[in-house]
């Protein structure tokens, strides 16, 4: 069975007149299985949106190929467009002067759905995304979270099998973001596949089965979210609590420890290069009457920061 998404040597270069061309994607080979939620991580300008644009047929690749459910995005645009839904983040992509329901009826006509089907699906989707009571209010009066839910409803209107979400929770408050994530998990349970472009590591950890980290258009790593720590090789860490910062300072001087960071109050995390070092650090801590210490793996956020952290605010 064809995967939901497969790219092979995918590249995209933007020409900029007399300026040097910008390489937005470079030799990206990626497979997303059906019914998977795949996180596409990377800083601003990493190439996430470019990939989403190519997969949703808004943009053509400069080299390589991309297929969605077996259809080539460059050659079989019509087939791809009926199979995918594009959900944008932010304020754009909706008609502010129309009500939520009217927005969906407009897009239903463009998706060639008949009038009854569009009405039925619009009602069901508005109910599902929690906008039924505001269905006839103009979108210009909606909060960011409500707009985002309407974006999702619009993306689902033609019942696509693959959804591309481009930073869907950027700017949402934690409650709205949490509700949005629950909705995505529900939709996955119905058999849909998601590609989630984000730089929110909590979101990726909470939602994604697998993640791919890209930067400057190149894939840096890809794999299961639950085993994100392994992206950093044999790196491990030891989490412990102790009230005295002097102990952490002393620990940081050990050759088995690469660094120690304060997590929260009396909670600390010591990074170690391998499992043997972890064992020795745990012993060292127990010898000093530390009551709580456990072996851990770097979180996705740590992996992200260590992999692209040198970029700072540069894009």
């Amino acid at each position: 069975m064809e995967p939901a998404v497969h790219t092979s040597g995918l590249g995209r270069v933007y020409k900029r007149g007399r300026k040097d061309p910008v390489v937005a994607l470079d030799d990206l080979t990626l497979t997303i299985e059906r019914n998977e939620i795949h996180g596409l991580l990377g800083p601003n300008g990493a190439g996430k949106t470019t990939l989403v644009k190519i997969l949703s047929t808004v943009l053509l690749p400069s080299e390589g190929s991309a297929r969605v459910l077996g259809h080539d995005v460059a050659a079989e645009t019509r087939a791809v467009r009926s199979l995918v839904g594009l959900v944008l983040g932010g304020d754009r992509g909706l008609y502010d002067r129309l009500s939520a329901r009217r927005n969906l009826l407009f897009w239903g006509a463009l998706y060639k759905l008949d009038a009854r089907t569009t009405r039925d699906r619009a009602d069901a989707l508005l109910e599902r995304v929690g906008l039924a009571e505001r269905a006839d209010d103009r979108v210009e009066r909606f909060s960011r979270g409500m707009r985002q839910r309407l974006h999702l409803a619009r993306g689902l209107l033609h019942e696509p099998r693959v959804l591309f979400l481009d930073e869907p929770t950027s700017g949402l408050d934690p409650v709205a973001a949490g509700a949005f994530r629950r909705l995505v998990l529900d939709l996955r349970a119905e058999g849909r596949t998601f590609l989630l472009a984000t730089h929110d590591m909590d979101e990726a950890t909470a939602l994604c089965d697998r993640v791919t980290l890209i930067d400057r258009g190149r894939m840096l790593l890809t794999g299961d979210t639950g085993q994100a720590g392994r992206f950093l090789g044999d790196r491990e860490c030891v989490d412990f609590t102790h009230p005295d910062p002097a102990l952490a300072d002393a620990l940081a001087l050990l050759p088995d420890v690469t660094d120690v960071e304060r997590q929260d109050g009396t909670a600390w995390r010591a990074h170690t290069p391998d499992r043997g070092a972890t064992r020795r650090v745990l012993g060292w801590l127990l010898d000093r009457d530390v009551l709580t210490a456990r072996r851990g793996e770097p979180t996705l956020e740590e992996v992200y920061l260590r992999t692209v952290g040198d970029r700072g605010m540069r894009v």
Binding site: T57, R81, R102
Partner: protein, 264 residues
């Protein structure tokens, strides 16, 4: 309902909703429509001042008919708004194809354009003491509709420029309308201009339809009127073809160079 008709219907609803951001029916009637009537009156009176009653009628008829063009070309603004709202690429990848909705995005202006022109047609001649040969003058109404349709195609074609170059939509609209107003036989006959301009003006909407309207009022032969209407229809069809090609190219080039941006 047929898919195309549903797109037209939804586009009209969207268009009038957007219009509602600028006008209420009162401000449209007593603000915009009054302004159009004053404009036509001003030029008509100028015609009488520099010429005679015949000149005044010539200018008044031209300025009433051109209102249909003036409003329908506002589609330039509506279409340019798609880029600002970030909906342009979403429309481009819609399974219905981009053309029906792109060409339907300013249909509300055809409704208001026809209304303005009709109101002016009924109100201004008696008010200014310009006699029209009724009921023959009523035959001009479907001709105005044809002019409206061809002008809308002209607006759609020029909207392609506004969609490519950000922030120029008002310039494009005013230049587009100004060209028709100046060279389209509205205030002075097309033959007044030097030969190259006169030939170029034949490609403008309004020119042949307006000639047909004046022909109807002057009792021209049906054959001549039909020829002029046919030419206006062909000119309009050509502008639609240009619009369709321009928008097809906008999308195909946008997919190649990345200019179909949903970030506005």
């Amino acid at each position: 309902m047929k898919p195309l008709l549903r797109i037209v219907r939804e586009s009209l609803i969207l268009g009038f909703a957007e219009m509602g951001a600028v006008y209420t029916w009162r401000t449209w009637t007593f603000g915009w429509l009054m302004r159009l009537l004053c404009q036509a009156t001003f030029y008509a009176l100028l015609g009488r001042y520099v010429g005679d009653e015949a000149t005044m009628r010539y200018v008044l008829v031209g300025n009433i008919v051109v209102l249909a063009c003036m409003e329908s070309t506002i589609v330039v603004i509506s279409l340019a708004g798609e880029r600002r709202m970030g909906t342009l690429p979403l429309l481009a990848i819609a399974p219905s194809g981009h053309l029906p909705v792109y060409l339907g995005r300013g249909l509300q202006w055809t409704v208001t354009g026809m209304t303005s022109s009709l109101v002016a047609w009924i109100a201004l001649p008696p008010m200014l003491g310009v006699p029209l040969p009724w009921p023959r003058a009523a035959y001009a109404v479907p001709v105005v509709l044809l002019i409206l349709v061809s002008s809308y195609g002209y607006g759609c074609a020029l909207a392609g420029i506004a969609l490519r170059m950000r922030g120029v939509e008002w310039l494009v609209l005013n230049v587009a309308y100004g060209i028709v107003m100046t060279f389209g036989g509205v205030n002075v006959p097309v033959e007044v201009w030097p030969a190259p301009l006169e030939y170029a003006a034949q490609a403008l909407p309004v020119v042949h339809g307006l000639d047909a309207v004046r022909g109807i009022l002057d009792g021209a032969s049906p054959g001549r009127v039909m020829r002029l209407l046919g030419t206006e229809a062909v000119v309009g069809a050509c502008w639609y073809a240009v619009a369709a090609l321009s928008m097809d190219r906008l999308v195909s080039v946008g997919r190649r160079d990345g200019s179909l941006d949903y970030a506005g």
